[in-house]
């Protein structure tokens, strides 16, 4: 009965066709986004003459996987990327969480200014951020290397950490930590025992995003790296002389690991929410 009452006009065959077309279109766009990933995975199994990926399919081989870590400086670059990714994710969480807390819980004077600087940090184009950090390092005569890469990655990850953690905090029920305060908990204890467990998914999300942004970044890193290479920088440097298959192999491994972790994370969250809901 209710269906007949609430939806008398919208069920028209023409609309139904439109909706189907839209669904098909969305499917096509999703396939389009997958094409380069498929190319990368398929070509990681291609026979590579002269140690360079061929543009044509020459036959299936596991050679590149057997020698995945065979190019020493590529492996070193990947390790640098992992170090900077983890380091910058952790530091930006430590810096960003208190700021997110201040922005959600207090109405203070510097709020608007803080909003603007976070906004500017996210919206600033990578070339400008990279060029300005390089200018600073040049003027202060700071040698470029792993440390300057790490410093620069934290500079763009902090803003994202604040935004993600803040989004999680805004949805929180304030009565819980007020109850903790009423029961005599100091703000410090209330934070660690009540707030922290509740915002943990946001913090983990911010960490994963930060790690992904860091390992993805080429433009800013390119300015501040000096002679040090990260994984994207190594790949970028090799584009004009030919890409060794190991690049696609390592990237496929990163992709599979990342997707695996994301799926596990969402399954854990879903189960936790299910438990809370049931």
């Amino acid at each position: 009965m209710s269906a007949a009452v609430t939806m008398p006009v919208t069920r028209r065959p023409k609309l139904e066709i439109g909706r189907r077309l839209l669904a098909a279109y969305t499917g096509l766009v999703i396939i389009y986004t997958m094409i380069p990933i498929a190319v990368m995975i398929v070509f990681s199994f291609n026979i590579a003459p002269n140690g360079r990926v061929a543009l044509k399919w020459l036959g299936f081989t596991l050679d590149a996987y057997r020698h995945a870590f065979g190019i020493q400086d590529l492996t070193g670059a990947l390790i640098n990327s992992l170090i900077v990714g983890m380091g910058s994710a952790i530091i930006s969480i430590i810096l960003g969480t208190p700021l997110a807390l201040a922005l959600t819980r207090y109405n203070f004077r510097a709020r608007t200014a803080t909003d603007i600087i976070i906004f500017a940090d996210i919206a600033a184009p990578a070339v400008v951020v990279g060029a300005s950090l390089l200018s600073l390092f040049l003027e202060l005569n700071i040698p470029r290397g792993l440390i300057t890469i790490l410093i620069s990655h934290v500079a763009f990850n902090v803003a994202f950490a604040v935004v993600v953690i803040r989004a999680r905090m805004t949805g929180l029920d304030r009565s819980l930590d007020r109850a903790a305060a009423d029961l005599g908990a100091t703000p410090w204890i209330a934070f660690w025992t009540v707030t922290m467990p509740l915002i943990l998914p946001g913090i983990v999300g911010a960490g994963l995003l930060g790690f992904a942004m860091s390992i993805d970044d080429l433009i800013i890193t390119n300015f501040v790296a000096g002679q040090t290479l990260t994984f994207p920088l190594w790949v970028y440097g090799a584009t004009k002389i030919g890409t060794p298959p190991q690049v696609f192999v390592l990237s496929t491994i990163i992709f599979a690991t990342g997707v695996g972790l994301a799926v596990i994370n969402s399954l854990i969250n879903r189960r936790a929410e299910h438990r809370r809901g049931g």
Partner: protein
């Protein structure tokens, strides 16, 4: 005492990030301006001065690259919006229980590093690659056809890399729309087209603009797509800045060019903040 600590608490909490962003985000912008005004040459080093000539030199020498960058940025952002909007709309309104799965599929490319995504497109679009190679061997297109190193290869690469960045803010905005408003439009005999143009599009405007700003700014400053997919005729301002810093070591010119880019984009950001406020962008940024 309690009131006092309540007053200072937010400042104490925001101090670490503030300090960090001041030293490594705000001050560097100042040093970039300072470097732009410096004089000297790569061998003897540069000394601070108030020499504004790099700005006029940079503009007169590279205005073509500036115009091209803003053109590529605008075209790629508009194309991305046109591709992304129906997707975000369908997921927000008809995605049902699988909404998050569809969104996850759209961000999958982020698990592959940016430069490799661009590299994969170089493979796909290359003259003998499977798109052109197949069409050529079937005799459907002339042997001389090429896509790489044209402006459309660069714009195509920019569009591909911004798609997910645009779907997300659009999705957030469309998801927020109160479905009762849409139903009310239908009840008041709005045709689906009118309901869409007069109700849904205006209500999703914040997402349209937030995404436009983020994607446009990113694409104007990009040099990786132009380097890998483009050719000499598709040089963007990012490529010039990059070359001036590293190949020519002309730091003042490079710093002047990036200061000009920053200024132009700051105008865009300021206009945005003025119209929509700074709170909203954070809802759509991540």
């Amino acid at each position: 005492m309690r009131r006092l600590s309540r007053h200072f608490a937010p400042y104490l909490l925001s101090l670490p990030s503030w300090a960090y962003l001041t030293v490594f985000f705000v001050i560097p912008l100042g040093s970039m301006l300072g470097l732009a005004l410096a004089t000297g040459d790569p061998l003897d080093g540069y000394v601070a001065s108030d020499n504004f000539s790099e700005f006029s030199l940079g503009f007169s020498q590279y205005h073509a690259e500036f115009v091209r960058s803003f053109f590529y940025g605008a075209v790629s952002t508009v194309i991305t919006l046109v591709i992304a909007y129906p997707v975000a709309y369908w997921i927000a309104f008809y995605g049902g229980r699988n909404k998050s799965t569809y969104l996850f599929l759209l961000v999958l490319p982020f698990f592959v590093t940016f430069v490799i995504r661009v590299l994969a497109w170089e493979f796909i679009l290359s003259d003998e690659g499977f798109v052109l190679g197949t069409l050529k061997s079937l005799g459907l297109i002339p042997q001389t056809t090429h896509i790489l190193s044209t402006q459309w290869a660069v714009i195509g690469g920019l569009v591909y890399n911004s798609l997910a960045y645009y779907v997300m803010p659009l999705y957030v905005a469309l998801e927020k729309i109160d479905r009762r408003v849409v139903r009310a439009a239908n009840d008041l005999y709005a045709t689906p087209r009118v309901a869409f143009t007069r109700v849904i599009i205006p209500l999703s405007a914040p997402g349209i603009f937030a995404g436009f700003l983020l994607v446009f700014v990113t694409n104007v400053g990009d040099f990786v797509n132009a380097y890998i997919l483009g050719g000499p005729g598709t040089y963007m301002i990012g490529n010039v800045i990059q070359d001036s810093f590293f190949d020519n070591q002309d730091y003042p010119l490079a710093a002047a060019l990036s200061s000009m880019l920053m200024f132009l984009l700051m105008v865009a950001i300021f206009l945005y903040a003025k119209t929509f406020g700074t709170d909203t962008i954070q809802d759509y940024a991540a």
